[in-house]
Symmetry: C2
Subunit: 205 residues, 2 copies
DNA sequence: ATCCGACGTGAACAGTGTTAACGTCTCCGC
DNA sequence: GCGGAGACGTTAACACTGTTCACGTCGGAT
């Protein structure tokens, strides 16, 4: 395994475990068995290294979104895409955060902002395709497929990010350890139902 | 004006202008005409100071949400609340980012995470009230008002955060300066339509 | 007059990302 | 075989960060 790969592996593990605040170049170097400046032989700077981590995330993400193609009819394919999105967000929260949540420019990560905008454009295209399919099949009212795709992405993205900030289950407010498994199942249910409701709302009158 | 107020004012201005990465204690101190350690006479640490900035944001935010009460019927009040949310997010992006977007725990801001969760719970209650009103009036199908509120908040929150990451208008991809005013108007339109569609979807069959 | 607490200071510490100067290998052409 | 070149790593240092410590300097209450 090359030193470059080893550095990336360490950066990824440290980030996924400790978040951005735990990701220091010296920590990465220590883990990889080198000193900090050695990293600069392989990556331009910290932002560049972080981007390499993001790229691995996007690769993983693409596989989750790909599940959408398994659905039988257009509506099922769109919903299945939404569920793949949810699974990725729940199973790989840390990845999801850098890739879609944390606004890079506010943390001085300007290049990362650009690059991830491009990447987002690609996944967005996948969603637009599913939406257009639904429009052709009469599941969604004909119109601007791009706009509808923004609405749907916004919807699922919002639910997922909100789930990470709210207790979600208000009964569990301030009750110790609100059994994450149960509330996650509840949230999945809610996610699914709301996706249905939204698509209904976007359907022909 | 007390020194404490002056420090807070500087911290707010610097943050709103330069984002989190530009907010250094020494910069705040310089602006306020003191040295960095003086800040510790008034705030526990940087996180505490940042929280004070957030509090001002929440105060402002409450006024925007309050507009929802102007609506005539329950549905109008719910939509008006959603539009107030949008206005705040668009007119005070930087505030919106710390308050609702950036996940504090990933940046080592644990206390801020707790505190803002509490604050979010409060605004959430306001939304639940509007939803319950709609259920009573038959605008939204009867059921769990909290769940419906999560869905709606997730929806608007997702659209707003997405707008900050996507070009929104795909025609403007990579075209220089895609006239922010025009695309903002377009986005408002899309936001409003999708909110309508979602509430339709949540209505009785 | 004296103590005290509030407020501010300069110096210092550990940690950060990053750069410069210096080695040490390996491989390639002569 | 020899010399040069390039890839890769090191140590030392710089400027910056949040934070703490010991020291002052006031104003007000006793």
């Amino acid at each position: 395994m090359s030193a470059k790969d080893e550095i990336l592996r360490c950066a990824r593990d440290i980030y996924l475990e400790n978040g951005l605040s735990g990701l220091s170049l010296r920590a990465v170097a220590r883990c990889a068995g080198v000193t900090a400046p050695a990293i600069y032989r392989h990556y331009d700077d910290k932002e560049d290294l972080l981007w390499a981590v993001c790229e691995q995330g996007h690769e993983l993400f693409a596989r989750y979104l790909g599940r959408g193609l398994r659905g039988g009819d257009p509506r099922a394919r769109l919903i299945e895409t939404g569920l793949g999105y949810l699974d990725f967000a729940l199973e790989h929260r840390a990845y999801y955060v850098i890739m879609f949540v944390a606004p890079p420019s506010h943390f001085g990560l300007d290049r990362l902002a650009e690059r991830s905008a491009d990447e987002n454009g690609a996944t967005f295209q996948m969603l637009v395709d599913r939406v257009r399919e639904c429009m052709d099949a009469g599941v969604i009212a004909p119109g601007d497929a791009t706009a509808a795709a923004v609405i749907i992405w916004g919807h699922v993205h919002g639910l997922v990010t909100l789930e990470q900030r709210l207790p979600t289950d208000p009964d569990a407010r301030r009750v110790a350890a609100p059994d994450p498994v149960a509330t996650e199942a509840k949230f999945r249910e809610l996610y699914r139902r709301s996706l249905d409701a939204l698509i209904d709302g976007l359907g022909p009158r």
